[in-house]
């Protein structure tokens, strides 16, 4: 009896020590944020910094941070950036958004992924806080909301259709198959727009197979593709399931042409993934880390130095967002003492009239719905790196 009590006391004491130690660490890391200068625009954003989609949230956060540091070093317009974790969940995203509001956010980078962005964009619309999301690509994010803008192109109308167009134009294959995740909006949206466009172009889709969250075995889907004699497989999904598909297809000796989407960006940086498996995978993305463009190379070098990783499209989009804000704020003559609502009106006016050159495209313009017009580049993975297809 005494012994168990003793054990419990020790457990309690240890847990208390851990808690205190953690509070100390946590407190330390959050201190620099307290040094707020009244001269800076408060720029906030939510993204999945933890959980299954964390690679996107962290990439966007890092990309935006690089841009903010560069701009602040130049003098002139100053930004203060704060990213809050939303764990890719609408409820947590609204909580994160509210805590940013308490912090005094004046302009927003929206949310990184689509489901949280749907929720936070409705809040931002009601509160009149202007938002430019780097990567939340669902049409519902901007639909009917005059102050919600996107830096990435719309998934469903643009990307799925463009993929079908590309496959048709390049005559990549006769028999097309699709493997998609039917419990995810991103995947389903892309698949639907791909199928619509494919029907229009007369592409021959011979097999379709689905999977759901948590599925780790794709042998059924791959066998179905193989049996139907599919030679091009369209994979509208994020990189995580795609990496498993590549590995399992390789194990069963099935080697069709793979065609991916922008969510597959990041597969090469994935821990434990053998890049040779993704050899020859094609995807459409607006950003190419291997571009010879000077600005892109500088960005990639800086990103690698700071975060020891090749930046993906999410990082580049967020980087562009901050620079687009800089351009718009300068043109509008905005000052950091303006309220969120004043800035909101100025930003709507600027974004609908300006043209912006960034890493993910040149001559980008926005229409009044908040959608961006820029072109996607076909990429192919060669020797463990992206290379332009065109």
């Amino acid at each position: 009896m005494k012994h168990t009590n003793m054990k419990k006391m020790i457990a309690l004491a240890l847990a208390t020590i851990m808690l205190v130690a953690l509070c100390a660490c946590g407190g330390g890391s959050s201190e620099p944020e307290a040094e707020a200068s009244a001269e800076a625009f408060k720029l906030g954003g939510t993204g999945p910094l933890t959980g299954g989609a964390a690679i996107y949230g962290n990439a966007a956060k890092n990309g935006a941070q690089i841009a903010v540091d560069e701009i602040n070093a130049q003098g002139g317009i100053q930004f203060e950036l704060k990213y809050e974790d939303d764990a890719n969940d609408a409820e947590k995203a609204v909580n994160a958004y509210n805590s940013l509001k308490d912090w005094g956010m004046q302009i927003s980078l929206g949310s990184v992924t689509s489901t949280p962005a749907n929720a936070t964009s409705a809040e931002g619309f009601t509160d009149r806080i202007f938002s430019l999301t780097p990567s939340a690509s669902a049409p519902t994010v901007i639909e009917g909301k005059d102050n919600m803008f996107q830096m990435c192109f719309l998934d469903y109308p643009t990307q799925g259709g463009a993929s079908a167009q590309y496959i048709s134009d390049m005559a990549l294959g006769e028999k097309i198959g699709i493997i998609w995740k039917n419990d995810e909006d991103y995947s389903t949206g892309l698949r639907n727009s791909f199928v619509d466009k494919a029907a229009e172009l007369g592409l021959n889709i011979v097999a379709e197979s689905t999977f759901t969250e948590g599925n780790n075995d794709f042998s059924v889907q791959l066998t179905e593709m193989q049996n139907a004699g599919v030679d091009v497989v369209f994979l509208p999904m994020y990189y995580q399931p795609a990496s498993l598909i590549f590995a399992q297809a390789d194990a069963m000796g099935y080697a069709p042409k793979w065609f991916g989407v922008d969510g597959m960006d990041g597969i090469l940086a994935m821990e434990g993934f053998d890049p040779t498996l993704a050899e020859g995978v094609m995807l459409l993305t607006p950003f190419n880390a291997d571009s010879t463009d000077e600005a892109t190379q500088a960005f990639v070098a800086k990103y690698q130095e700071l975060y020891n990783d090749i930046p993906n499209q999410f990082a580049a989009d967020a980087y562009d967002c901050v620079y687009a804000y800089k351009q718009a704020l300068e043109a509008a003559g905005a000052t950091p003492d303006m309220t969120a609502e004043q800035l909101n009106d100025l930003m709507i006016e600027q974004f609908t009239s300006m043209s912006f050159d960034g890493l993910t495209g040149t001559g980008m313009t926005w229409d009044s719905t908040g959608a961006v017009s820029k072109s996607a580049h076909g990429m192919v993975i060669q020797d463990g790196a992206y290379a332009g297809l065109d």
Binding site: N5, K8, A11, L12, A15, T16, M18, L19, L22, C23, C25, G26, G27, S29, S30, L49, T50, E84, D85, D89, A90, E91, K92, V94, N95, A96, Y97, N98, S99, K101, D102, T115, N118, A119, S121, A122, E123, A138, T140, E143, G144, K181, N182, D183, E184, D185, S187, T188, G189, N192, T212, E213
Partner: protein
């Protein structure tokens, strides 16, 4: 018959719960009206109400009926989807927002009750671990079905389809449920007051059920099923009664939660959400409704309050949870709190302690 009304111990503890909920509502509402509340806390008021209803209703199954249910979020999602569909479909007919919310909650509760009844028939033949696993499976099935569920509305009325979108809407039609994309563009009708009313209603239903003759029958089944059967209690009937009531209340919480956000997806109501609600119940004490309320509110606010610790907050959250569980179950501390309670009892004359002790009798 005595004329003087004597309150039973249980009634007193339930009045204490009502009182505390009302006091909390009045204070928070005053803070909202005077604008002295942070946006962060203000945004959490409605979800807290929804989670409180979920925790109290699950406590009915777990604490009072004594069966472990791992699919409670499934009932919430049935309620959320059917309720929101009803609210959207009635947009043109009933312009009054709060009335649509009430109808949504009623529809949600009704559908969840039907689901609870249908699930209850096979499930309640099982006991213990088997029941837990079947309810877990039920939650997953609901999630999968709703992920493949398409509902649209046009001038001809509502159209339903499964697996793929075959609703074939006419010009000007609106897609309400769009498979895995869920419901988007929800008009936010939920208010803190609506949440408060639902919490009070839930407490009223649960307290009255538990202290009624049926409630005693349910508790007797929990404590000893064979003995209960031997004295002629209809075990299936009373188990089903508790289970369906619990499901219906969860179904009413669904629309309250969903209509606080502009969009809702089926994946939100997954296994993790069910477990989260179970954590509220276990932390608050089985059978202890006030405990469930406090635990639900505290554990919803805690992760947000820990935001300043950035990446460490998940770890701190887990450690706090472990500490609280250890402390609340520590015999030494429990003995101390008993001593303090006795002293309070002497000082205040009124017995206030029973509320916190209500559920310690069993596992």
């Amino acid at each position: 018959m005595k004329k003087k009304i004597t309150l039973t111990k249980y009634t007193r503890s339930s009045f204490l719960t009502y009182g505390l909920v009302i006091v909390a509502y009045v204070i928070l509402q005053a803070m909202v009206l005077t604008g002295s509340i942070s946006s962060s806390l203000k945004g959490m008021l409605v979800p807290i109400c929804a989670y409180v209803v979920m925790a109290v209703s699950l406590n009915l199954t777990v604490g009072v009926l004594g069966e472990l249910s791992l699919g409670h979020a499934g009932f919430m999602s049935v309620g959320a989807f059917t309720g929101v569909i009803a609210a959207i479909a009635l947009e043109g007919i009933i312009p009054v927002g709060w009335l649509r919310l009430v109808i949504a909650m009623a529809v949600g509760a009704a559908f969840a009750a039907v689901a609870g009844f249908l699930i209850g028939i096979p499930v309640l033949r099982l006991k213990g671990d088997y029941l837990a696993i079947v309810t877990l499976a039920f939650g997953e099935i609901i999630k999968s079905v709703l992920n493949n569920f398409y509902v649209g509305m046009d001038s001809d009325g509502l159209h339903f389809s499964l697996l793929s979108d075959r609703t074939g809407l006419a010009e000007g039609g609106r897609m309400i449920v769009n498979g895995p994309m869920g419901i988007t563009g929800i008009t936010k009708l939920s208010t803190f007051t609506a949440g408060f009313v639902l919490v009070m209603l839930t407490l009223f239903i649960v307290f009255n059920l538990v202290s009624s003759r049926s409630g005693r029958a349910i508790k007797s089944i929990r404590d000893n099923r064979i003995a209960a059967e031997s004295v002629g209690i209809n075990v299936t009937k009373y188990r089903l009664m508790a289970f369906v009531t619990s499901a219906a209340l969860a179904g009413a919480a669904g629309p309250l939660f969903a209509m606080n956000y502009s969009n809702i997806i089926a994946n939100k109501f997954d296994f993790n959400t069910s477990i989260l609600i179970l954590v509220f119940v276990v932390l608050g004490g089985l059978g202890n409704m006030l405990g469930s309320i406090i635990a639900a509110a505290a554990l919803t606010i805690l992760p947000e309050a820990l935001r300043q610790f950035a990446d460490y907050r998940m770890l701190i959250y887990a450690i706090v949870l472990i500490l609280v569980m250890l402390i609340t179950n520590n015999p030494t501390l429990a003995a101390w709190s008993d001593v303090i309670r006795e002293k309070l009892r002497g000082a205040l004359r009124k017995d206030r302690a029973s509320a916190a002790k209500g559920g310690d009798g069993h596992e």
